[in-house]
C-alpha cells in the first residue's frame, strides 16, 4: 500500500483516541475499586472471624506477631476471660497449589480444631475431600507433631500431606510461641 501518511489522521487522532479510552477506563476502575474496597475488606474480615470461631470459640481474638525463619508471622490468641488457645494460619503445597489451613492449639499443646481456609486449587471431588469435617476431626487432641504417614485420604495423598505439613508447621510455631 503506497500511501502518504497523513500525520493528523494516521498518527495523532488514533493515539489521542486510544489515550482517552485508556484514561476513561482507568477512571472507571479507580471508581469501582473505591466503591468495593470497604465491602471487600469487610467480607474478608467476616470470613476470617467465622473461621477463627470454628477453630476455637472465644469472645476476643488478639492479633500477635512472631519471628520465624526471618519472617514475621501473624497469629491470634483466643481470649474468653482467660487464654483459650493460639490460632495459626499456615499453608503447604498440595496437588494443584497452596492449601491453607487454620489450626487452633490449646495452651496445653493439644490441637483444638483444624479448618481448611483454602483448598480451591485441589482437584474437585478428590483432593478437596480434605475439607470434609469428618476427616479434619481426627486431628483434634493430637500434639507434638502429626505423623506424616497417617491421616491421608486414599486418592488424595498430596492434598492430605499438605494438610499434615501445614498443621505441623502450626505446631512448630506453637512451640516457638510457648518458648
Amino acid at each position: 500500500m503506497e500511501r502518504k501518511i497523513n500525520v493528523l489522521k494516521d498518527i495523532v487522532i488514533p493515539t489521542v483516541t486510544l489515550l482517552i479510552i485508556c484514561v476513561v477506563v482507568t477512571a472507571a476502575l479507580a471508581a469501582t475499586n473505591w466503591l468495593t474496597q470497604k465491602q471487600m475488606a469487610e467480607k474478608e474480615f467476616e470470613k476470617k472471624k467465622e473461621s477463627l470461631e470454628k477453630v476455637i470459640a472465644a469472645g476476643d481474638y488478639k492479633e500477635q506477631e512472631i519471628e520465624h525463619d526471618g519472617q514475621k508471622i501473624k497469629y491470634y490468641e483466643a481470649i474468653d476471660g482467660e487464654l483459650k488457645g493460639y490460632i495459626f494460619e499456615t499453608s503447604a503445597s498440595g496437588y494443584g497449589g497452596a492449601v491453607s489451613v487454620m489450626t487452633g492449639i490449646q495452651p496445653d499443646g493439644k490441637i483444638a480444631a483444624v479448618v481448611i481456609l483454602d483448598a480451591s486449587k485441589e482437584t474437585k471431588g478428590i483432593g478437596d475431600r480434605i475439607t470434609n469435617p469428618a476427616y479434619l476431626e481426627q486431628y483434634k487432641g493430637q500434639s507434638g507433631q502429626v505423623d506424616e504417614g497417617a491421616n491421608t485420604i486414599t486418592g488424595a495423598t498430596f492434598s492430605s500431606k499438605a494438610v499434615i505439613k501445614a498443621v505441623n508447621s502450626a505446631l512448630e510455631l506453637f512451640d516457638k510461641v510457648k518458648g
Binding site: 489522521k9 494516521d10 487522532i13 488514533p14 493515539t15 483516541t17 486510544l18 479510552i21 485508556c22 477506563v25 482507568t26 472507571a28 476502575l29 469501582t32 475499586n33 468495593t36 465491602q39 471487600m40 467480607k43 474478608e44 470470613k47 483454602d118 480451591s120 486449587k121 482437584t123 474437585k124 471431588g125 478428590i126 486418592g155
Partner: protein
C-alpha cells in the same frame, strides 16, 4: 423486530459460541466441573460481553481503524476488572472457584470475536441483543456441562447431594478427560439440533468460520477466498 430475535436466538444453538463456533474452549473445560461455577462464569462473561459490545458499538465511528484492537482490549479488560472487583466484594467464594479463569475473560475469544465481528459494525441495540444471546448460549453450554459433570463426577446437583450418599461417583467426569467426553457429546447434540432446524453446521475450523474474518487480512486475501 424479527431480526433482533434472530440476533438473540442465533447464539443459543445455531451459532452457540462454545458448541458450534468452538470458541472459549479452555475456560469451558476448566470451569465446568460444577454447575454453579459454570453459571458464575457464564454470567460474568455475559456481563463483560454486554458492556463491551455496547461501548464498542457506541464508539464504532470514533475509534480509528488502526488502533481498534488495542482500544477493544482496553475496554474489555476494563469491564473484566470491574466484574472481578464486584465479584471479590460480593461473591468471594465464586471468585475463588473461578480463579485465574475470571481475569482470563479478557482474552476469551468470544468477547473479542463479537466486538470485532459484530459490535463494530452494528447498532447499539443489535449489539446488546447479540451480546445477551451469545452470553446466554455460553452460559447454557457451561451450565449443562457443569450439571452433567457434577452429577456423574460428584453425585450432586448444584452442590445438593443426589446420589453421592449411596453411589460412589465416577471421579473421572470432574477431571479433564471427563470434560472432553461431555464436551464432545454436547457438540454432537448441538449439531444435531441445529441440523434439525435445516441448517448446515457452521464450518468453524475453516478460515471463514472465524468471527474476525471480515477484518482479517488473511480472510480477505485471494488465498482466503479460495479456501471458501
Amino acid at each position: 423486530m424479527s431480526s433482533l430475535r434472530q440476533e438473540f436466538s442465533k447464539g443459543l444453538i445455531l451459532e452457540n459460541p462454545v458448541l458450534r463456533l468452538v470458541l472459549g474452549t479452555c475456560p469451558t473445560l476448566a470451569i465446568s466441573t460444577a454447575a454453579i461455577n459454570g453459571m458464575g462464569m457464564g454470567v460474568a462473561a455475559t456481563l463483560v460481553l454486554l458492556g463491551s459490545n455496547v461501548v464498542i458499538s457506541l464508539l464504532r465511528k470514533v475509534i480509528p481503524d488502526r488502533v481498534r484492537i488495542p482500544a477493544y482490549i482496553t475496554i474489555i479488560a476494563g469491564f473484566v476488572s470491574i466484574v472481578q472487583m464486584l465479584m471479590k466484594a460480593y461473591l468471594p467464594t465464586l471468585d475463588k472457584a473461578l480463579g485465574i479463569y475470571l481475569p482470563l475473560i479478557v482474552v476469551n475469544c468470544i468477547i473479542l470475536g463479537r466486538a470485532e465481528g459484530f459490535a463494530s459494525k452494528n447498532s447499539v441495540l443489535a449489539s446488546a441483543v447479540d451480546a445477551i444471546g451469545m452470553g446466554a448460549g455460553f452460559t447454557a453450554a457451561l451450565v449443562s456441562m457443569g450439571i452433567i459433570r457434577e452429577f456423574l463426577g460428584a453425585g450432586t446437583f448444584f452442590s445438593l447431594p443426589v446420589t453421592s450418599q449411596f453411589i460412589e461417583p465416577i471421579k473421572v467426569m470432574v477431571l479433564p478427560p471427563g470434560g472432553f467426553f461431555v464436551f464432545g457429546i454436547l457438540i454432537a447434540v448441538a449439531n444435531s439440533l441445529a441440523r434439525r432446524k435445516g441448517r448446515k453446521p457452521v464450518d468453524s475450523l475453516g478460515c471463514h468460520g472465524c468471527a474476525g474474518c471480515e477484518a482479517c487480512p488473511a480472510g480477505q486475501s485471494e488465498e482466503g477466498k479460495l479456501n471458501e
